[in-house]
Symmetry: C2
Subunit: 452 residues, 2 copies
């Protein structure tokens, strides 16, 4: 596998271009750089000044409508009135923390747990997915007495110091600490799994090799961490079941299996409420030791959670308290409850399955006209469309041109994959058949414009 | 200095007592323990089931009103209508992240920076104070190339893996990693600073000794981290200026001075908008390299920030992006802007100074009747009332009895200090003279009931 080139700022606005923006936008961008400093990025070669959202649509300062196929946080739709009302009503009444009794947090936790395997028995609330993963790893290390962590090649799990350390897509594989090992992501088209009974057996062997290498270097294994849809590794959904052998290897080694459901959770994959469920069967369900959730949980309200088996959290709970000032406060819970209710009431998991299948089918139909499209894959409303050209660099350039071209066509989309050579199509779950068709039409037009 | 005893669960509800609660409360507590697991705590021997808040008052499920002298998050008052309206209005319109242009985040950042020394030039938004401190330390380590951190004996800076590691009040001094050194807190009544020109010179010498000890062990100094009011070390406010010599020592050693303003910030000390400002003069202002803010910033909405000099963040900004999905989203900024506006429009810093002074004076007047009160100290509406008995353990027992007694008198208060021997009085900043008098009256009654 060739090394990915260092991803430049080409999918982002380059501050050197500020003088090429219209005066009003240029002024705002300059003030923003002055006030927020150099660690911030803006999407697109020409940044987008968004002022309003509704459902799957965003509107810029000039009133132009954009179809949002990128944002997974507003999972039930931008500014969903039920979520807005729940937040407004609760904020007007009470917003205190978890050291007073409050009924709604208990009711929500019970409701959430009812969607999960019985083994996952406790919910601990945080504000962000990063905090949820950070806490999960802290608890896993306490439980196992180990420190070793295994992640995939281009994994992203968050931004705290600890979690950045296990996120090679953020810090690079060379910067991983000595207690972290990476394994190639289970991409059936890009890894050589000949000699193994299945992709899953091959992947399990990689994880076992990582565990063995940790042990050989005196590092006790604590946790295997994976996003069940492998979003930053390029969206790897199939064949379902490929995670089961790795899960068995982790259990046999006494480690904690941490399913990072921040991206695939809450029905996005269409097949199931939780991404890991796709990798089990009725006879042999897939049960992680820990699950983390975030992004769509409050439709933009900062709320996230770590869900654990009682066994994993026992030692931590005995020796340590955990208090997150805002985590699970009354308003956060109101937002989260509204989202969970809407996902069910509006049948959004079903919608993700139906519209996602239609979208994949329509995108595959484009392949005959646009030969640069080398693959369409995904599950539900988490879809990747990959470009294959003479080099990965050329494919990345095309991907970025398409992202910026679609933006000029008023469609917002992101990129995915270790080579940054795929579109990441991950819209709000209320995405309609019409929305999907509009995306396909505009993509067709952009590719034609680009001579592809 | 004698070692503090391990702080037991006595200021919290003991789950073993669940059968002694009334049936309705007992049932909710049991369900809560089942769903949330063992890392959660409830305040008070008999937990409080709060359902509503307004201004400085909280109301339980039976409609009983409590005077809140504990909660610093709802700094402008529980359920302040302007904050509620700002959140509701923005949530109904848009709640997206910082990779699209949005005017409000720029305007708020400029507004916040206008309250600060010119050197502090950039704001990076997070969701929690823990995240703000975690990011600050990550940046400080990148800037200095060092890892060594110095904190005070009972410091608390947050709950991420990294920040728990520099929070001895959470993990204990014995569990600090080898890159952390603790120094005694600058408590003028409990440390021996004879031989030094001032308490500040003594404290600076402790910090220098910490830096030297890190160096002697091959650890390069990165940052000194202190809450400018030393909340968990017992609320240490005076003499103003005592932090200045330590600040000079940190600068001379090439380290980053991180002012954790999560507790004293936003006008609470009455004397200034930011706690560190109290330690400077007009001629010689106190300027940290990094400031972190959180808790009251959104009056309960999860929003926090790291504020930095351009110099400190330069290397990090060059090599690394930072993206916090919910950090500084449009709704978070709406809440934060409302709070900043209210603090100014309602004169809450002035109110903190005036009511805080009245409160301290009234509490000191109690000392003649209640000899157990050994000290009253603080700044603005951050006040500690310390008990002195034959032992620290006895003082802690009295403190906890007073906390639970005041709760039965419908007044909510917390504890502070390494020996847990002081009341921590830290109400919403709209606390009135009448509220202060009610607190003093009820404290008087509780101490009388307790025979003190």
């Amino acid at each position: 596998m060739s090394e990915p080139r260092t991803i430049g700022p080409s999918s982002y606005f380059d501050p050197k271009d500020v003088d090429r923006l219209d005066p009003v936008t240029g002024d705002l961008v300059r003030r923003r750089i002055d006030a927020l400093g150099p660690s911030y990025r803006l999407f697109y070669r020409r940044p987008l000044h968004i002022v309003r959202g509704s459902g799957t649509k965003l509107y810029d300062v000039d009133g132009v409508e954009y179809l949002d196929t990128y944002n997974n946080v507003p999972s039930v739709g931008h500014a969903h009135p039920r979520v807005t009302a729940a937040i407004a009503e609760q904020a007007a009444v009470l917003s205190t923390h978890t050291r007073y009794l409050h009924e709604s947090i208990v009711r929500y936790a019970e409701d959430l747990l009812s969607t999960l395997p019985d083994e996952l028995g406790h919910v601990v609330f945080t504000c962000t997915g990063s905090e949820a993963n950070d806490l999960a790893l802290r608890i896993a290390k306490k439980h196992t007495g180990g420190t070793g962590v295994i992640v995939t090649r281009n994994a992203y799990h968050g931004v705290s110091t600890e979690i950045a350390s296990i996120s090679p897509s953020l810090v690079g594989v060379d910067a991983l600490p000595d207690w972290v090992r990476w394994v190639p992501a289970p991409d059936p088209r890009r890894v050589d799994w000949s000699g193994y009974a299945s992709l899953g057996e091959w992947f399990a062997a990689q994880v076992q090799a990582g565990i063995d290498d940790l042990a050989a270097n005196g590092v006790r294994f604590a946790a295997f961490v994976a996003d069940s849809i492998f979003a930053s590794d390029g969206v790897l959904a199939d064949p379902v079941g490929f995670l089961a052998p790795a899960r068995a290897v982790v259990a046999a080694a006494g480690g904690v299996y941490l399913a990072d459901e921040v991206q695939p959770g809450f029905g996005r994959t269409g097949d199931a409420m939780w991404g890991f469920e796709r990798h089990g069967t009725a006879a042999s369900p897939f049960v992680p030791d820990v699950m983390t959730i975030g992004k769509p949980m409050g439709n933009g309200f900062p709320v996230a959670a770590t869900v654990l088996t009682p066994e994993v959290v026992a030692e931590f709970g005995r020796d340590m308290r955990y208090f997150n000032t805002f985590g699970g406060n009354a308003v956060a819970i109101a937002a989260a409850q509204a989202v969970l209710d809407i996902v069910r009431d509006e049948g959004l998991q079903d919608n993700a399955r139906v519209v996602g299948a239609h979208l994949q089918e329509s995108l595959r139909a484009l392949q005959s006209q646009h030969l640069a499209i080398s693959d369409v894959r995904g599950a539900g409303l988490f879809v990747a469309l990959e470009f294959g050209l003479e080099s990965y660099a050329a494919a990345e350039d095309l991907t970025l041109a398409v992202v910026n071209g679609l933006k000029e066509h008023h469609v917002l989309v992101g990129t995915a994959g270790i080579y940054n050579d795929a579109l990441k199509i991950r819209p709000p779950l209320c995405f309609s058949i019409e929305d999907a068709d509009r995306f396909v039409t505009e993509l067709d037009a952009v590719l034609t414009e680009l001579g592809q």
